[in-house]
Symmetry: C2
């Protein structure tokens, strides 16, 4: 180990092995095996590397090669149970291909979002995946991304010119609503998400389309509540619905709110699905562990994360990414729905 230097670098290895730094670099090169060099030299170098505990500096390598093998993953809040599987999907594919992921929680705040995006381009990540978030949280970043050749993939939105991985939310709630209609429900409430979320918008649209198509009068705003995707808001939305006209079913824009609805109904002395049927959205792990088990729309979150990262990898290889990747949803029928009680 050298005396006055902070850490051990390729120079120290070269000195220890009695070779030049170029030779050390060759041993470390990915194409190392194909490079012809004397076996004894190679051994000396390997030996020195191990003795010194040398680890090549990826910063220097990145600076030279103009690629960092890092990507940014920007999302509203990892504490929302919807995101962890998505994050795993991204990370599993990323690490399998030698990329590391920098996590950025924005809380949907424009300031935080802007700050994170700035950090990401300054650290020259090769790409960024943006999941969730409202429609307008990328204030004029396109130019900078362009300048620094930072590839961008969006997850869970649509109508954008960006490469993206999407879910057909409209079709999903249409199917769920048709299922409830098929059971005989006519007075169906909807607990939606914040209206600045395109996901929330689409889920409401699908619901309303199904009602319209079936000729069931949309009972207007009284049947719709806006939550913010967490348990508490689902609880409160459901309580407030209980004060209005009687409903025999409630369709929630995500599972967390559906679980809140469970609690509100239990507290009101109503049984699920005896008095009220409940449908969720996402199929989080808890959905199969609550009682009654929750009928819900499964979103392949993990696979979406994988798809997003794969799309990014393709773009690194020159693909345009212009073709949006569309992921399927699936109605998972469990125990929280039944035909409406007679006279309901």
């Amino acid at each position: 180990m050298s005396r006055n230097k902070a850490t051990v670098s390729i120079r120290d290895v070269a000195a220890a092995a009695g070779v030049s730094i170029a030779t050390v670099s060759r041993v470390l090169s990915p194409a190392s095996a194909e490079i012809r060099m004397r076996q004894e030299t190679r051994d000396r170098v390997v030996r020195a590397i191990e003795d010194l505990g040398y680890r090549p500096n990826d910063l220097a390598r990145a600076l030279l090669q103009q690629r960092t093998s890092a990507i940014g993953l920007v999302l509203p809040d990892i504490s929302n149970p919807y995101y962890p599987p998505l994050v795993r999907g991204v990370e599993d594919v990323a690490s399998a291909h030698g990329y590391r992921v920098v996590l950025c929680n924005t809380d949907r705040e424009p300031d935080k979002t802007a700050a994170y995006l700035d950090t990401l381009v300054k650290t020259r990540v090769d790409g960024v995946i943006v999941a969730g978030g409202s429609l307008a949280d990328l204030p004029g970043r396109e130019l900078v991304f362009e300048t620094y050749r930072t590839k961008l993939v969006m997850v869970g939105r649509h109508g954008l010119t960006q490469p993206s991985v999407q879910v057909d939310n409209v079709a999903a709630t249409r199917v769920a609503t048709e299922y409830l209609l098929g059971l005989g429900h006519r007075r169906i409430a909807f607990v939606g998400g914040p209206m600045d979320s395109s996901t929330a918008q689409d889920r409401l649209i699908g619901h309303q389309q199904a009602l319209r198509k079936a000729g069931v009068p949309d009972s207007g705003q009284d049947a719709v509540r806006v939550g913010d995707f967490d348990e508490r808001s689902g609880y409160e939305a459901t309580r407030s619905l209980l004060d209005g006209e009687a409903r025999t079913a409630v369709l929630c824009a995500n599972d967390r709110m559906a679980l809140g609805a469970y609690a509100a109904l239990a507290d009101a002395g109503l049984s699920v699905p005896g008095d009220v049927s409940v449908v969720g959205f996402d199929d989080v792990p808890m959905a199969s562990f609550v009682r009654p088990t929750l009928t819900t729309i499964a979103v392949p979150t993990y696979e979406m994360g994988q798809a997003a990262m794969r799309l990014l990898l393709e773009m690194f290889n020159g693909a345009s990414g212009n073709e949006p990747v569309l992921m399927p949803t699936r109605l998972v029928v469990r125990g929280s729905c039944a035909p409406p009680a007679a006279g309901g």
Copy 2:
């Protein structure tokens, strides 16, 4: 913009503003305000920066300054609901201090762990926070960390020589068990975690200490089941308990398993807390939204994340980190416990 260069660099800005790169660097310097320079020069530079959409390359800066402002966060699996708040705690403090966090999910696999740790030192992160994980997943990394001055903080373990943030798991389950004993329970089952987890070990120890202290015969291995911290294992452990001697209460080593226990008890036609009392551990958000609400031991996960990152920051400033940070737990009494039924 230059012709043959990939992106815009400090040189392009200097050229556009008609100054040297040193001058541009000064404008960008953190101490920029204190640096005396002609206002007109400064304006020209700022102007050029904006025109070109220039973002300084943090790789180059890091290489020179020998610090990356990045840290690694290593944990078993972000999909485990225990971790997201911890991650937020880490990230919120990190980003407030200009650090970014690289997420590493190890699944407790030694290979993945080793690979991630290697990547982290190669990218020269300033520090690493390791949460969860079994006792032996840092095979001889100390040396390399030492070599590259990578600071290390452990979360949720003890008995280590490393700087750490800890919870007194032993005391926590002792308190919980004493609570059940106080309600009159004598036949208490324990659903624990994997025995290679020190956390799981400690939680069992606290439970047994309380039983011993109260002179309640430890009913032996028949009263103890080993799960792996997820809902399914809690479900199965509880089912298997139901086949043995009757129990009036079950203490679970985390909330997810407690929720699994809820499902198993419901499926067996047993009511909570009428027939069986249940206690969890962690106080995840769902704990207050299941019915009955779950009595549990609250772990300040978010605060632990904050504390871990703060400890790391102190170590960057020269602190030894030798004093372990101990975080308090708290029994949160909700609706899942009652005195044992007469004759239970």
